[in-house]
């Protein structure tokens, strides 16, 4: 349908769409006035996965299921997606900021010769055209961008947009277009899984606990991990803690690390340098615990405690335990 808003499905590599896709679908539905179509490139889609997309509001699912689509490779996926776009002429192609889609949608836009807005935090229709809002300059400014022509291609920052409420009983309408899947140039040699901490992935987590220089050493992060396990949070770190070698780089929040936008961010012993704020200032609720009452993080915090994190963290862990036991 020529006025459809497309949502590129992000899946768990096991045949099920991830929650972030519910966010993108809800936004596509809202902006299009109801015609939100999912486009899913995968080697194998589970029937329950298709059901989930329908429940989240996908009015149609364009499914390309092909062994050559796993693992994700940009030079394979972009032409497949571009072929579908050429045939169906959607108005917008929206995805999520994930390791695959940040590259895929940039490639797609170049292939189509249209504009691409990455990492948007708000989308709105202005008459007949889409306006996207993106944080720039370390999140110090917001840039409102517009496209010269459709399709409008954009990625959405996870956890910022309200996910679709599933409506049971919606039947998936699945189209399986015949598309040639080109040969890959990249060959997967190995996949090294991180040792599972049992905690959520940082960029997808709704709750994040984070430690900075005030943690005083790598051995103390265990108290944050304990707190995180009680509330089901991911554990992050500031650049100071990462550069000191206390945490691996993949846990770094900030300008040269991950950008996150959780429902609740709890920062301990973090001063709140601009480059750290760049990675977390769109969090919905920010809590800061720091010994220094002048620490800049208190300027963005909704709640602050000026005090010793080594006293606050255990007390907070106990208090959360009591609350969640109720």
């Amino acid at each position: 349908m020529a006025n459809a808003f497309w949502c590129v499905v992000e899946d768990d590599r096991k045949g099920y769409p991830k929650k972030v896709t519910a966010e993108v679908l809800a936004e596509a539905r809202r902006l299009s006035g109801g015609t939100a179509e999912a486009v899913w490139l995968t080697d194998s889609a589970q029937p329950e996965g298709l059901m989930r997309l329908a429940e989240w509001g996908a009015t149609k699912i364009w499914l390309v299921e092909h062994a050559g689509l796993a693992p994700y490779r940009g030079e394979v996926w972009a032409p497949v997606l571009a072929t579908l776009v050429a045939a169906q002429a959607p108005k917008a192609i929206l995805g999520a900021v994930t390791s695959r889609q940040r590259e895929l949608l940039a490639r797609l836009a170049a292939r189509l010769g249209v504009g691409f807005a990455a990492d948007t935090v708000a989308l709105a229709m202005d008459g007949d055209t889409l306006v996207a809002t993106r944080p720039v300059y370390a999140g110090k400014l917001l840039s409102k961008v517009t496209w010269a022509k459709p399709p409008w291609v954009a990625t959405l920052r996870p956890n910022v947009f309200k996910p679709a409420e599933p409506v049971a009983g919606r039947e998936p309408v699945v189209e399986r277009p015949a598309v040639t899947v080109p040969d890959a140039m990249l060959k997967l040699v190995e996949r090294r899984e991180e040792v599972s901490t049992g905690l959520p992935e940082l960029s997808e987590a709704e709750l994040v606990v984070s430690g900075g220089r005030g943690m005083k050493g790598p051995e103390h992060f265990v108290i944050l991990e304990h707190l995180a396990s009680v509330i089901g949070a991911a554990v992050g770190a500031s650049r100071a803690a990462v550069d000191a070698g206390w945490r691996p780089h993949r846990f770094q929040i900030g300008q040269t690390g991950r950008t996150i936008s959780p429902k609740l961010y709890l920062g301990f012993g973090i001063s709140g340098a601009i480059q750290h704020l760049a990675g977390m200032r769109t969090s919905k609720i920010i809590v800061a615990v720091n010994k220094d009452p002048e620490a800049p993080i208190f300027k963005v915090a909704d709640y602050g405690i000026v005090g010793d994190l080594f006293e606050v963290v255990p007390a907070l862990t106990e208090e959360f335990k009591k609350l969640l036991a109720k």
């Binding site: 030079e75 170049a110 840039s143 140039m185 997967l188 609740l264 601009i274 200032r281 208190f298 005090g307």
Partner: protein, 259 residues
């Protein structure tokens, strides 16, 4: 092996940025300019590849006004062999796609085996350029790489890209585009000898016509640049630790509904 490293000059993170009068760009007066940090990882990796292989050429490239020469000079001081400056007012309004087309044209002329980018520039944080250049050239690309090793015969590369929950190591034929993530290496500081030597190295100026392209109107435009709306003032919770923590948890549950 010839390696091309596109870099961008950006305002230092600590610099105050102010919205210009037209509300579409920032006020350029008083800004301290630096090489985007991810691009330094890219320069460093290119230099390491050249050193490891014992031969090769590292070419830094940038698009922008005259001030960009300073950033290119810093790359030369780090050890890059020469630089290309796409310096043409016709690119003043360039969006990511226009920039990608210009860089793809430079790459076609230079024919390197590898183009190493930073994963994103820290001014507009778009992160799209490496993918778009690769797409325009028909090259494979590997995003957010944490490690790489080139085959002894120089025909292929293995690189590990950071993905959710792990690292995926791919083998790619050359030529190929890489986008450097932090953690790939620790960029060197230019030595005094490097800084002196950089003055003698070539920075070639190119115009759009030299690349055989005519910049098109941007596909994505900034309609308005705004300061961040201030967050509502927060509350510092006082009292002894246990009282403060109890009050915090109550507020998170009842006021913020965050837990």
């Amino acid at each position: 092996m010839k390696i091309l490293v596109p870099i961008k000059q950006v305002p230092d993170t600590a610099t105050q940025v102010r919205v210009a009068a037209d509300a579409r760009a920032i006020e350029s007066a008083g800004i301290t300019w630096i090489i985007s940090p991810y691009d330094e990882f890219a320069v460093e990796e290119a230099l390491r590849i050249k050193e490891k292989r014992g031969q090769g050429e590292v070419v830094a490239v940038s698009l922008g006004p005259d001030r960009v020469k300073e950033a290119l000079r810093s790359c030369l001081a780090m050890g890059a062999d020469r630089a290309i400056h796409v310096n043409d007012p016709a690119f003043a309004d360039a969006d990511t796609l226009t920039t990608a087309r210009a860089l793809a044209a430079v790459i076609k002329q230079e024919a390197p085996q590898l183009a190493i980018f930073g994963r994103q520039a820290i001014d507009d944080d778009m992160g799209a350029l490496p993918a778009q250049v690769a797409e325009l050239l028909g090259w494979p690309s590997l995003y957010w790489i944490m490690e790489e090793a080139i085959a002894a015969d120089g025909a292929s590369i293995r690189a590990g890209r950071q993905v959710e929950g792990g690292l995926e190591v791919f083998e790619a034929p050359l030529p190929c585009v890489l986008a450097a993530q932090k953690g790939l290496n620790e960029p060197r500081y230019p030595t005094l000898k490097g800084i002196m030597g950089a003055k003698k190295k070539e920075i070639k100026d190119l115009k759009a016509a030299d690349l055989g392209i005519a910049p098109e109107p941007p596909q994505l435009s900034v309609a308005r640049l705004e300061s961040l709306p201030p967050r509502p003032p927060g509350r510092v919770i006082g009292g002894d630790v246990h009282e403060a923590v109890r009050e915090l948890v109550r507020a998170l549950r009842e006021e913020a509904k965050a837990i």
